[in-house]
């Protein structure tokens, strides 16, 4: 028996298909203009912030949002140096007494006056162990906070500690916030939070009472879009009009072709490097490390895999950063010299260009697809000088845990958000091996130890820079890490958006200077 013998039923199947088609076409009927309202800037971040509180937030997305909503005593200038923000001036009365004078007439978003007691409250809250702030250890050198006047704050340190000032960029919150329960506090930054959709978006309104003048934008919507393809499609459609460092290098030519979009680039500040385990018998020989560095054709990797959107690095500090040492000797790409160095170090290639290798090394990396491709390129380049590279990729937590435990030979990482040259104490001082610090490579050099200690105590900027210049020269010779490249900051924006200056450290508070033109000349929109 076949029910479909009845001719009436033969129409059923096409009918079902037609129904579906009709349903999808019905959407076309309610076609509507999706692009943004006038004066509204829609920014896409690659992830959602974990907390909107400058006292507890640590992730990059939170920091970027907080740059828009919260103001600190100081802020960073384009060279990574510090300049007054809420403070009108600051002065080190003695190396252990730093006095900040606040600007008069400062206000929080709700109109409350911002005074010295709010500043003291913010930092005392962070220092209180009961509040479990992740930033607490940065205030270890602090003895006390005093408020001699309503607009004067005095920080008394236990001993001279130059990196302390970088903590003064942290956003100030009103005194008494979150005495009961917990809610993200307001701030005194250029934008104020109007609405929060957890995991989806944050809507910001301009703060008319901002001390630097009210922002020109009438609204900023910050969307959290984790998928890079979708970020690009949103830009293309006009429903997002500002993405800083969120578009894959491969998609940039396509973005540049779009008449509504503009691609801008500027030097960045996050250096990627190759890390060596110095307690490994092979890698403890500086000649082997130099040979590996010389065997790597960084220029080709940057040109092909990063599509040219990175600059070769000679230090883990970016050239624009104030403490970067000029005139460092770059490591050339020279496979022949690399082979000679390896021979000299006693690692002869058993069969010249044949398949046998001098030695094999394991290279660990995360599961990021681009990082894996870079690792494969390095594998091929090292094979040519007779070194076998075994590339292994791990889930981030496992990978990073292994690096901390010293369970690696080679790895590659990027220093993100580097703010002070005290990084040399954290990552290269022999007393700072994990878990006491980030000297993951197990580097030991008495002179570097001495200089990194001195750099903490020296509060005079020029003398301090001279100390870090010397450290950078020693590291360029010893190569406990090989600085690879610094990714450029790439902004893809709507053509109507203007006024944003890309800083090396991706400062989103620059949005206070941005405006958006109403109509696009010569376009239907």
């Amino acid at each position: 028996m076949r029910p479909s013998n009845d001719p009436r039923n033969t129409r059923l199947a096409p009918a079902a298909v037609l129904l579906l088609l009709a349903a999808s076409i019905a959407f076309a009927g309610c076609r509507q203009k999706l692009p943004i309202e006038e004066g509204t800037l829609v920014v896409a971040l690659s992830g959602a912030p974990s907390a909107l509180d400058p006292r507890i937030a640590t992730d990059a997305y939170s920091e970027q949002l907080l740059q828009m909503t919260h103001a600190g005593l100081l802020r960073r200038d384009a060279g990574g140096g510090l300049e007054p923000d809420l403070a009108a001036s600051f002065v080190a009365r003695t190396p252990t007494e730093i006095v900040f004078r606040l600007r008069p007439g400062l206000r929080f978003h709700d109109g409350r006056a911002l005074t010295a007691s709010d500043v003291r409250y913010t930092f005392e809250w962070i220092r209180d162990p009961a509040n479990r702030s992740p930033h607490r250890s940065a205030f270890g050198p602090l003895e006390s906070i005093e408020t001699p006047g309503p607009l004067v704050v005095l920080f008394r340190l236990k001993e001279p500690f130059a990196p302390f000032l970088t903590e003064m960029t942290r956003g100030i919150v009103p005194a008494g916030t979150a005495a009961r329960g917990y809610a993200p506090p307001i701030g005194a930054g250029p934008f104020m939070v109007a609405d929060v959709e957890p995991g989806d978006s944050v809507t910001l309104d301009p703060f008319l009472g901002y001390h630097g003048g009210a922002p020109a934008l009438s609204r900023v919507v910050v969307k959290f879009i984790p998928d890079s393809t979708l970020r690009f499609l949103e830009l293309k459609m006009g429903s997002v009009n500002f993405v800083l460092n969120g578009i894959d290098p491969e998609m940039l030519p396509e973005a540049a072709k779009n008449p509504n979009l503009v691609v801008e680039e500027a030097a960045g500040s996050n250096a990627s490097y190759l890390g060596f385990n110095l307690s490994d018998p092979v890698l403890s020989d500086p000649r082997v490390r130099r040979a590996i560095a010389m065997a790597l054709d960084r220029e080709t990797i940057v040109r092909t895999l990063w599509k040219g959107k990175a600059d070769l690095a000679d230090s883990i500090l970016a050239p624009a950063f104030w403490a970067h040492a000029g005139g460092l000797e770059p490591v050339p790409f020279d496979p022949a010299a690399a082979r000679r160095l390896l021979d000299e170090a006693g690692f002869r290639d058993p069969d010249g260009d044949g398949p046998a290798t001098r030695f094999a090394l394991t290279y660990k990396t995360s599961q990021n697809a681009l990082r894996l491709r870079i690792a494969t390129a390095m594998q091929e380049q090292l094979r040519k000088v007779g070194i076998a590279l075994d590339v292994r990729s791990y889930e981030w937590g496992t990978f990073f845990g292994d690096i901390g435990k010293g369970n690696f030979q080679l790895y590659s990482l990027t220093w993100v958000g580097l703010r002070d040259p005290d990084i040399y104490h954290l990552a290269f001082h022999s007393g700072r091996m994990p878990p006491d610090g980030a000297n993951r490579n197990r580097y030991r050099n008495a002179e570097v130890d001495r200089l990194a200690d001195a750099g903490r105590r020296e509060t005079e900027p020029r003398a301090r820079k001279a100390i870090y210049d010397r450290i950078q020269r020693i590291l360029a010779r010893d190569l406990p890490v090989f600085p690879l490249w610094i990714n450029r900051n790439i902004l893809v924006r709507d053509r109507r958006v203007s006024g944003f200056a890309i800083t090396p450290d991706e400062d989103y508070s620059q949005l206070r200077n941005v405006s958006i033109r109403n109509s696009l000349p010569g376009s239907a929109r």
Binding site: R8, P14, R136, G140, P198, G199, G397
Partner: protein
């Protein structure tokens, strides 16, 4: 039915306890330390120890497990390490988005699967059956991270009728629901076709046809209810999975649901949040399966008497 409910409730209790224990052990045993994630590398050991103490992570695992169960018995899932919000509030703030997407996807899947499944079963080995079979094969074998961007390209970029991603009105719902629903409909459609074919061959359908019942009516009224039991089983399992939040689709469309929350919690090693999310998902799955069991009883009276 009361017996069934009681049985299932006891069952659910054990399943949840088992899942809670398993998750607790797994999240504590995998490498990665929440204190390291929170404080970063620049933190000094004394601060790390202090935070570990404040979070009660320095206590023996058994004591932590005891605390966790004690909290559960009071209905307290704890506080997220990172956002400092109560875990229950975090999950409940994300659940409506996931529930909405799950229901919409299910509706899409049923809208596609039921008519096409019936059509294919009524004319086996015809062009429509072949077409449905091919479509189902494509739907099953195309991952969501491919379907999603293709739908975006078509509906948002080419036609410009729907937003690319995000959460808001019904227009934001269409593409993620289509992405999830189309894949699901493939399985349902094939399932419905094969079980309908079996029923159509039965005597009672032949009797109905012999009495002059129009074939479509005979299939929909008589064969479909009997054919739907295996379909309901699959439907229940799939809906349970949808309620757990589809990690890929939610990430793709920036849909603020439970799936994304769970992944973010795992990445941050936010133990209370991970435990809360997984427990919540487990309870939902148990509840949906219970609903499916109750639905059988309605569809097939024989099951009621067992």
């Amino acid at each position: 039915v009361k017996r069934l409910l009681l049985d299932r409730l006891i069952h659910a209790l054990f399943v949840s306890l088992g899942v809670a224990t398993l998750v607790f052990l797994l999240i504590h045993l995998i490498p990665g330390d929440p204190v390291d994630v929170m404080l970063g590398e620049s933190a000094v050991p004394a601060d790390k120890a202090e935070l570990r103490h404040a979070l009660k992570l320095d206590r023996p695992l058994a004591a932590q497990y005891g605390d966790f169960l004690l909290g559960l018995s009071r209905g307290d899932l704890g506080t997220s390490f990172r956002s400092r919000e109560p875990v229950a509030r975090e999950i409940l703030s994300r659940f409506p988005a996931t529930l909405l997407l799950a229901c919409a996807s299910l509706a899409v899947a049923l809208l596609i699967a039921v008519p096409l499944g019936i059509a294919a079963a009524m004319r086996p080995r015809s062009w429509i059956d072949f077409l449905c079979g091919t479509a189902a094969m494509l739907g099953l074998s195309t991952p969501n991270f491919v379907i999603g961007p293709m739908l975006v390209l078509l509906f948002s970029i080419q036609l410009g009728v729907l937003p690319v991603s995000g959460h808001g009105g019904w227009r934001h719902l269409v593409l993620p629901a289509l992405t999830l629903g189309s894949g699901m409909s493939a399985i349902l459609m094939r399932m419905l076709r094969s079980s309908l074919l079996e029923e159509i061959g039965q005597d009672y359908v032949r009797t109905a046809l012999a009495k002059g019942t129009p074939p479509l009516r005979a299939v929909v009224r008589h064969a479909l209810p009997n054919a739907s039991i295996p379909v309901v089983t699959v439907l229940g399992l799939q809906f349970g999975a949808l309620l757990a939040g589809s990690v890929i689709t939610e990430t793709l469309f920036s849909w603020p649901g439970v799936g994304r929350l769970t992944v973010q919690a795992i990445e941050a090693r936010d133990y209370p949040l991970v435990q809360g999310c997984v427990l919540f998902i487990a309870l939902l799955t148990v509840a949906v399966n219970l609903a499916a069991d109750l639905a059988y009883a309605r569809l097939d009276p024989r099951i009621r008497h067992e």
